[in-house]
Amino acid sequence: MSFESIESCLKEIEDRYNTNEKVKKKLANYDEPIQITFLDSNRSVLLLINKDQGIDIKTNTSDENAPIKIEFSSEKVMFDLFNKEIGAVKAYSDGKIKVVEGKIRNLMKLKSLMF
């Protein structure tokens, strides 16, 4: 499967949540909004996870008060991650992904959903 649009990546996030029991288990106690911003297109996406009860992904939506804010330098970085053309650690160290806000405890839970 190839990821060539943000929509396809977001769909994959939704699928991982809905079909992967391990991912759901990890998020069983998680209910804080996650804001993702793509700096090249200035597009924002809001992930709303309601523990293991469901996930709602809102495109072109932002929440200034979101406790977790992640910036991607470009939309392509997300495609590359989902296409396994770049690893998350390399993307972090190259400055392509930046955690603007967020506690390490929460970020760890999101890894299997997003990376």
């Binding site: 690893g87 650690v89 160290s93 760890m108």
Partner: protein, 502 residues
């Protein structure tokens, strides 16, 4: 004490290499050898890393033979083999004693399983028990990773060892652990000095998986008889002494043994360890509490980050093609430049310990005056080299400053970078304190040999060994530079606040 010259083989599995030394009973390092450790990534992300354990054991045997072979005299009398290893690294053995997993201190596979720990314990509760964070780094998270991701392998785990426990086991055939190793496992209660029943019960871990705990420096047995022919040693009964964490042995080798002594290990990283008589749990959950190699003493750790790694990167990337001896070149650069020369600053990692809040990998930055028509004062390689050493010194200073409230009496330095007097002078001046530096900078070798001499009762205590056998040099700070470095640090820090947001 016996007057004949007897030797100790001192082994250290450090972050990047296996280092082995032949040390005399007068604590003279006579020969050293080094082999790189093979570490490989298990995933594209680089979170999961593994040590090639077969390669590691092969290289240890090779290096021991190399040490023995290079000793020209025929009367080599080895009175003991001392072991220590990098912290955090751990090994899971099956029932036949074969490694199912051996992970280095850089393996963060626990990122996938630490949620189990974080759901079971609050940050405060866990730190109160273990005095360490974040949970993704340690043995407990790795163990739970196997439970979650490789259940079959998890079921095969027969013993949970720290890396030095494994080394002791391979040499002697018996399995023990010690508190200096276990402090970085998140499996023990730091104040009680034993396996944490709360953690073990919470995760339903079989207590039979844990080895018995001995004091650091204890004799655990004798060299495995199977190994004697391959090591070509004359002695048939060579005692094996298990020490645990290499940084704690470095403290011994530096002479940092008393309450208030601060030891700065200038190795791949730069931990600062303050010796305490009682465990202190940092209420801010920033600094780690562990055990000193001397029973009954504790250490509080602040950590300046990848200092030696940065130094080696600079040598390899910028100086390799212009000098065969980059260490001397850097020393010469420091000698012939002034503090903060041309306002050139480096931001390449070393800083105040803040692991628990580290969610991003910061960008590396040099700040310097660029080539412009209005100025002909431009930094050269010399100034960039100085800026890196000053970055390392400022990182150490921030941690030193944070530990100052505990009354630091003496500051000791050891490790690879302490071989450069010019680097030590910069650190002494930035810290505004004298540094006490032992003759041998490979202090873990000396610490390991000291523990052997104590265990064999060649000496009655550590103070006597240090007084009789270790020579020190004092690197004095220059009072005329205090104001200059204070200003430079503030300037560096102000720019850092902006750079951290890049």
């Amino acid at each position: 004490m016996n007057n004949s010259i007897e030797r100790i083989i001192s082994i250290d599995i450090s972050s990047n290499s296996i280092k082995i030394a032949l040390v005399s009973d007068h604590l003279r390092i006579e020969h050293t050898t080094r082999q790189n450790i093979k570490i490989y990534n298990e995933d594209i992300d680089g979170f999961s890393k593994r040590i090639d354990m077969n390669d590691l054991w092969y290289k240890i045997k090779f290096a021991i033979n190399d040490i023995i072979k290079n000793h020209k005299t025929t009367d080599l009398n080895i009175i003991g083999i001392s072991t220590c290893a990098q912290r955090i690294a751990c090994v899971f053995l099956d029932k036949d004693g074969e490694p199912i997993y051996g992970g280095p201190n850089t393996d963060v596979r626990g990122i996938d399983s630490a949620y189990l720990i974080d759901d079971a314990f609050s940050e405060e509760e866990l730190f109160e028990i273990t005095a360490h964070n974040p949970s993704l780094l340690f043995c407990l998270a790795r163990l739970l990773w196997f439970k979650e991701e490789e259940e079959e392998n998890y079921k095969r785990i027969h013993k949970i060892l720290m890396l030095d426990d494994w080394l002791g086991y391979k040499l002697s055939g018996v399995i023990y652990t010690d508190l200096t190793s276990l402090a970085e496992s998140q499996l023990i209660d730091i104040k009680k000095g034993n396996w944490s029943s709360e953690i073990i019960e919470e995760f339903d871990i079989d207590p039979n998986l844990f080895p018995p705990i001995l004091e650091s420096g204890s004799q655990i047995g004798y060299l495995n008889s199977d190994l004697i022919p391959s090591f070509k040693t004359k002695n048939k009964n060579i005692p094996i002494f298990k020490n645990g964490a290499d940084t704690q042995l470095s403290l011994l080798g530096m002479g940092a043994i008393n309450k208030g002594d601060l030891g700065i290990s200038l190795g791949t990283t730069a931990p600062l360890h303050l010796v305490l008589e009682k465990p202190y749990i940092d209420p801010n959950m920033t600094f780690w509490t562990s055990y000193h190699s001397i029973p009954g003493r504790y250490i509080l750790e602040a950590h300046a980050g990848n200092t030696g790694e940065l130094y080696n990167w600079f040598k390899k990337s910028f100086l390799k093609y212009i000098s065969e001896d980059p260490d001397t070149l850097i020393a010469s650069f420091l000698k012939h430049s002034k503090p903060g020369a041309l306002s050139t600053f480096a931001y390449l990692g070393p800083e105040l310990m803040n692991i628990k809040n580290q969610t991003s990998i910061k960008r590396g930055v040099f700040v310097f005056p660029p080539p412009m028509m209005i100025s002909d004062a431009l930094p050269t390689l010399k100034d960039f080299a100085r800026s890196i050493i000053e970055n390392i010194a400022f990182g150490i200073y921030e941690n030193f400053n944070a530990l100052k409230k505990f009354q630091i009496t003496n500051v000791f330095c050891g490790g690879g970078m302490s071989k450069s007097k010019e680097i030590l002078k910069v650190i002494a001046n930035v810290l505004n304190t004298n540094l006490i530096v032992p003759e041998y900078k490979d202090t873990s070798f000396i610490g390991g040999a000291m523990n052997v001499l104590i265990a064999l009762e060649y000496f009655k205590d550590y103070k006597t060994i240090i007084d009789e056998l270790i020579k020190f040099e004092i690197i004095e700070n220059d009072p005329s530079l205090i104001d200059k470095y204070t200003q430079l640090y503030l300037q560096w820090k102000n720019i850092k606040k902006k750079i951290d947001n890049l």
